[in-house]
């Protein structure tokens, strides 16, 4: 049996299903936090996070459901947080945009575009000083590379040869604005390759391909000590923020979506497993198990208490 591909699928399914559950409940208006959905990018998040060790570290953006779930394995805390409940690690202070689980190597996510990138570089510096072998991976979008701080951070990581992997999750959009209206160059990969940085580019939605690529990048970081840059393409299924489709708003076409949908990372991986002769019933059972866990933790989150007013001024300093 192909254990790797099954494990990858489990994570893909978990991520996808978690967001489907969110969609089902979002209009109940109990999750009062802006949702930036991961749908479409699951292969990147799962492929990379699966290649990382438990104590490797990850930083994300407001669009971090997938990487959070893939990195941490947590579900219970996740739902409690987006429901804003006292049972969550952050007690609802962060919400969907600010997930954080340091013990599981998820070091936080920021809703200011590009602002976690230098933090990741500093975290990598600390790891290097500690000699703990940990790798830091920071995820960001193709919009983040517009920001000066991306360039400053890239330069510093290359200069100091820090063990950090920059992952640009390129959906060609910043909110609704295409790259063509934002970038005065053809290819970010070829620019970054002129820095002291290894670059890997990939457009696949196959999680195994991403996983292998991540292994290569991790190897390169461990080998050289210096950074890598992953330029990975995906298609954002839903609107920028919110849980609905938005193909009618005119800035992109449903046809494009349909093209990507044909190579949907989750379905594709399921098909691959079946081709590899994993029984469909077995998969169904696995999926049901995951779904049960998700639904239960969601219910637990729904019925959990809110934090008390005293929480507001705690942990400020």
């Amino acid at each position: 049996m192909d254990k790797l591909n099954l494990e990858l699928y489990k994570k893909l399914y978990l991520v996808r299903r978690a967001e489907e559950e969110i969609i089902k409940c979002y209009f109940d208006d109990e999750m009062k936090t802006p949702m930036h959905m991961s749908m479409g990018e699951e292969a990147i998040a799962v492929g990379i996070c699966h290649a990382l060790k438990d104590d490797d570290q990850v930083f994300g953006t407001y669009r971090s459901h997938a990487i959070y779930l893939a990195k941490t394995g947590d579900v219970e805390d996740f739902f409690a947080e987006i429901y804003g409940k006292d049972t969550a690690l952050l007690k609802g202070k962060g919400g969907s945009m600010h997930l954080c689980s340091p013990d599981n190597g998820f070091m936080g996510s920021s809703a200011i575009v590009a602002s976690a990138i230098p933090v990741a570089v500093g975290a990598a510096f600390a790891n290097k000083m500690a000699g703990n072998g940990r790798i830091v991976t920071v995820f960001f979008g193709d919009g983040a590379i517009d920001e000066g701080v991306f360039w400053e951070s890239l330069n510093a990581a290359c200069l100091w040869k820090l063990p950090v992997i920059f992952v640009c999750e390129d959906n060609e959009l910043a909110v609704h604005t295409p790259k063509s209206l934002r970038h005065g160059y053809r290819s970010i990969s070829s620019i970054v390759a002129d820095f002291n940085c290894r670059v890997f580019k990939e457009e696949s939605t196959d999680v195994e391909t991403i996983y292998r690529l991540a292994e290569k990048a991790i190897g390169a970081v461990r080998g050289s000590g210096g950074p890598c840059f992953l330029d990975l393409r995906y298609y954002r299924y839903l609107e920028h923020v919110g849980v609905s489709e938005d193909f009618k708003s005119g800035y992109r076409s449903r046809e494009e979506f349909e093209k990507w949908r044909k190579k949907d990372p989750v379905e594709q991986q399921r098909k691959k497993l079946i081709k590899k002769r994993i029984k469909e019933e077995e998969l169904d059972k696995i999926e049901d198990g995951i779904a049960e866990r998700l639904i239960n933790s969601m219910k637990a989150a729904q019925s959990a208490p809110f934090p008390g007013a005293g929480e507001i001024e705690k942990e400020v300093l």
């Binding site: 949702m35 600010h98 517009d146 920001e147 934002r182 923020v241 001024e313």
Partner: protein, 350 residues
């Protein structure tokens, strides 16, 4: 002269933009998302269709450079309007704002001027947390060379935006997201309002409430209830000008009533509320019957979850309770009151 009609704050901004861009071909509007289909919550509707992509355009996500860009365009004769969906993003441009935009005119001894407007949206959205909830007017106001205004009513939105666009020095124009739906009488024709003066929003005689932006709405509610429950007549002074600030209206009101509460849409420490409290305390020394009190955000980053968010943002209830304390009234039982709680209406994301 045309008449006036009820339009929303959002429409008032939009009308000001269209009328000024029509009048003056040097004016252009730009910023992240400005021409996209959401049109900055509708406020930039129709601009790209009317004026084309040369005068209404999107930008890379580069707040710092885009601010310097506006400055460069302004000293070379254009009149840029830069839009930020969130004031928090202006923090990336703080260097351009405080080291460049604010001093370029001074640095050229008036040879160059900086007719630039920076529109920034603030306001409690909906679970926005600590990176999408600041106001920052006091920090901008602290820097000489920057004008800062915060219109509250639709008429102010239009009149002050037109005045800002026609002004030859940089203006930071701060709009509260929740005010976008407020409707009121607004003249059809272009008109201007002063950029340095506060205005009495509701006359009264017993206590002065100085409020900024959305806090005026909370103050109006508080004033109604104070009147109903205590027979107290509160005067609300809308502090729509933050810097420079002609404090005459504020000081006159406080001197008249002898009591003053400042309700700012911001944190208190080193904020605009401190400036008002300091000035009122100094200039009304001897006429005040009670110390000036201040109301603002809780001293913490803004949390996401609703119950804590409710503790973070000041409201009519805080104003009422502070007024009761100031005037030494018995605390009214507010449990029966229905507050205009906008957050119940507002569905995410922002």
């Amino acid at each position: 002269m045309g008449g006036s009609r009820k339009i929303s704050y959002c429409k008032a901004i939009n009308e000001a933009l269209i009328q000024e861009m029509e009048r003056d071909p040097r004016v252009f509007t730009y910023g992240i998302g400005v021409p996209d289909h959401k049109r900055i919550f509708g406020s930039t509707d129709g601009l790209v269709e009317r004026f084309g992509p040369e005068r209404c355009f999107d930008t890379p996500l580069s707040e710092d450079a885009m601010t310097g860009f506006g400055l460069g365009a302004a000293i070379n004769g254009l009149r840029p309007i830069h839009v930020h969906m969130r004031v928090d993003f202006m923090l990336l441009a703080m260097n351009q704002l405080a080291n460049m935009v604010s001093s370029y005119r001074y640095a050229s001894a008036g040879e160059l001027s900086v007719p630039m407007v920076i529109r920034a949206i603030i306001g409690r959205g909906w679970g926005q947390s600590f990176q999408h909830s600041k106001t920052m007017h006091s920090c901008f106001a602290h820097i000489p060379g920057l004008r800062v205004v915060m219109p509250t009513t639709p008429a102010e939105a239009k009149g002050m935006l037109i005045a800002s666009i026609r002004e030859d020095s940089p203006v930071i124009f701060i709009e509260h997201r929740w005010l976008y739906y407020a409707e009121d009488e607004v003249p059809e024709e272009p008109f201007t309002l002063p950029l340095e003066k506060a205005a009495v929003l509701r006359p009264g005689k017993d206590i002065t409430i100085v409020a900024t932006s959305w806090m005026n709405i909370e103050a109006l509610e508080a004033a109604d209830i104070l009147n109903k429950r205590h027979g107290v007549s509160a005067e609300i002074v809308n502090a729509r000008a933050i810097a420079p600030l002609d404090d005459g209206v504020i000081v006159d009101s406080a001197r008249k009533t002898g009591h003053c509460i400042v309700a700012d849409n911001d944190w208190l420490h080193c904020g605009f509320s401190a400036e008002i409290a300091a000035r009122v305390s100094e200039k009304c020394f001897g006429s005040l019957k009670s110390p000036v009190s201040r109301i603002g955000f809780a001293p913490a980053p803004c949390p996401c979850t609703r119950p804590l968010e409710n503790c973070f943002y000041p409201s009519a209830v805080n104003i009422i309770k502070t007024a009761e304390k100031t005037l030494k009234l018995k605390e009214a039982d507010l449990s029966e009151e229905v507050f205009y709680s906008y957050e119940h209406k507002f569905k995410g994301p922002f």
